[in-house]
Every structure is written in structure tokens, then in C-alpha cells.
């Protein structure tokens, strides 16, 4: 490792951007609703990483506090989303997004 090589904040931001993009592409590509949910979690986590990075960059503890609110919203979203998936699965016997197309006309 080179001696004067330093990991700056930009490295963390680029990593978060890559994670966010992978999550977004996965959300568009996958058909299984559960895996689409996991991709949403990936995107939320990338946003958390950005918050923490900017908290260090601007030397502001508020960035770390915001992460807790993101966590709470993510937990509530997972609880509600999985309950909806369970309810859909009871009726339709399938957990792919294409199964829920009664309103397609």
C-alpha cells in the first residue's frame, strides 16, 4: 500500500452510489416481491452510508441521528410489506409481481 494513499469521503460516496444503483437495477429486474424488498433495503442502506459520510465530512452529529429515523422507517416498511406479501400469497399462491395484475384490464 502506498504511504500517502488516503481514503477520502469520495470513496464512501462512490461506494454508496454503486450500492444504490445495484439496488435500483435489482428492483427493476427481479420479479420476486421478496427480493424486490431486499433491493429496497439495499438502497436505504446506501442512503444511510451517505448520511454517515456527510456527517463526518461536515462534522455534524445530525447526520448520524437521521440514520436512526431511516432505520425506523425501513423496519416499519418491512413489517407492513411482508404482511401484505403474506396476505397476497394466501389468495394468489404466488409471490411474483406479475401475479398481481387483476387491474390490468
Amino acid at each position: 500500500m502506498i504511504a500517502d494513499f488516503v481514503i477520502t469521503d469520495s470513496y464512501y460516496l462512490v461506494l454508496a452510489a454503486l450500492m444504490f444503483t445495484i439496488g435500483a437495477v435489482g428492483l427493476l429486474v427481479r420479479r420476486n416481491v421478496l427480493i424486490m424488498f431486499m433491493c429496497v433495503e439495499l438502497m436505504l442502506n446506501a442512503a444511510n452510508l451517505t448520511f454517515v459520510t456527510f456527517a463526518r465530512r461536515l462534522n455534524d452529529i445530525g447526520g448520524q441521528v437521521i440514520v436512526f429515523f431511516t432505520l425506523v422507517v425501513a423496519a416499519a416498511e418491512v413489517a407492513i410489506g411482508l404482511a401484505i406479501i403474506v396476505a397476497i400469497f394466501r389468495r394468489r399462491r404466488g409471490a411474483t409481481a406479475d401475479d398481481v395484475d387483476l387491474l390490468k384490464g
Binding site: M1, S10, Y12, L13, V14, L15, A17, L18, M19, T21, I22, G23, A24, V25, L28, V29, R30, R31, N32, L34, I35, M38, L42, N45, N48, L49, V52, A55, R56, R57, L58, N59, D60, I61, G62, Q64, V65, V67, F68, F69, L71, V72, V73, A75, A76, E77, V78, A79, I80, L82, A83, V86, A87, R90, R91, R92, R93, G94, T96, D99
Partner: protein, 200 residues
């Protein structure tokens, strides 16, 4: 040392997120998600956010992933999904949109920089206070009202998920009209799950 840790766990997080997207088995996807979340927790540690890292491991990497695995096991969808593409050109379009997003973000990262007042809610390091105390002081003073609202949000979410997932008395057996509604596509939907190789 920090550089080695960053590349090790940053690479682990990226590999895990790619595994979530590409994994064929939902159980594998959930485990890849756990790997990503733990790696991101280590990155939080590297950025002096110890409390956030601990909460990440406790809430995300254990509770949320266990909830995912529980639902996967409960529903029995731990089978491979069909690789058919219902909407034409959906995957190339999705990858093109992803490339556009990443190009845009990288351009902004390289050419712009966020400005703003620093230390609005207090600095990260204060002599004599550890990270937990710093976060707690801001959370229970400046962010007290949002904190109370999250309590209400969690109660609503818990009640809502119980109501949604509850098996009500008359649904113990599938009603007749539901069978009729399922009829035109039940055979197709069932074949996707029972034998993915038959449709592909």
C-alpha cells in the same frame, strides 16, 4: 490499515449486493443481504459512527433479515423463479437506467461538492463524551418531536401488519368467488412455481 479495511469490506458490501440481485434462490439472496449489511456496519465503524454500526447489526442484519427468512420459509417460496421476461426489453432497459444513474451520480461526485453549514447540531467528537452520548443528546433535544412521531409510526406499523397478516375466520377455506377469479391464470401461476424449467 483503514485503507485495507475499506477495500475489504467495501468489496464485501458490493459483492453481497450483486449477489442479492443475481441470486436465484431467495434464501441465498437474504444471506447475501446480511453480508452486505454487516460490511456496511464495519464501514460505519470506520467513519466513527459506533452506535449506528451497532444498531445496524442488531436491527438490520439480525431482525430484518430474520424476518425475511421467516417469511420465505413460511410461504415456501425458496424455489428458483422463472427466467421468462413478461415485459419486452425490461432487463436491458433496467440496466441502461442503472448505467445512467451511476454515470450521473459519479459526474456529480467528481464535479460538484455539497456545501452547507457544518456542525449545525453539534460536532461529532466532544472531549469527554462518547458517540452514544453525542447521538443521544441530539436525538432527545433537537430531534425530540420526530422521535415521538417515529414511536407512533412503529405502533401503526405493528397494528397494521397484524391486521393485514391475520387469518380472519371466514377465510379459513378459500371462498368460492376467489377460485373463479383465479381460474384463468391459476394454471400459469402454479406452473411458474412448481416447475420453472417447464416454462423457460
Amino acid at each position: 490499515m483503514r485503507e485495507v479495511l475499506f477495500f475489504l469490506f467495501g468489496g464485501g458490501a458490493l459483492a453481497g449486493s450483486i449477489g442479492v440481485v443475481l441470486g436465484r434462490n431467495p434464501v441465498h439472496c437474504a444471506l447475501f443481504l446480511a453480508q452486505t449489511l454487516v460490511c456496511v456496519a464495519v464501514l460505519f465503524l470506520l467513519e466513527d459512527a459506533e452506535l449506528v454500526a451497532a444498531v445496524q447489526v442488531i436491527v438490520y442484519a439480525s431482525a430484518v433479515v430474520v424476518l425475511f427468512l421467516f417469511v420465505i420459509m413460511l410461504l415456501g417460496v425458496d424455489r428458483e423463479e422463472a427466467v421468462t421476461e413478461p415485459i419486452k426489453y425490461q432487463r436491458p432497459a433496467a440496466i441502461a437506467i442503472g448505467a445512467l444513474v451511476i454515470a450521473e451520480i459519479l459526474y456529480l461526485t467528481g464535479h460538484q461538492w455539497a456545501t452547507g453549514a457544518s456542525s449545525v447540531h453539534g460536532t461529532i467528537h466532544v472531549k469527554g463524551q462518547d458517540n452514544v452520548e453525542r447521538v443521544a443528546r441530539v436525538l432527545f433535544t433537537d430531534f425530540l418531536w420526530p422521535f415521538e412521531i417515529t414511536a407512533a409510526l412503529l405502533v401503526i406499523a405493528v397494528v397494521g401488519s397484524i391486521v393485514l397478516a391475520r387469518r380472519s375466520g371466514q377465510r379459513a377455506e378459500p371462498p368460492l368467488d376467489a377460485d373463479l377469479l383465479d381460474q384463468p391464470e391459476s394454471s400459469e401461476g402454479a406452473s411458474v412455481y412448481s416447475s420453472p424449467e417447464a416454462t423457460s
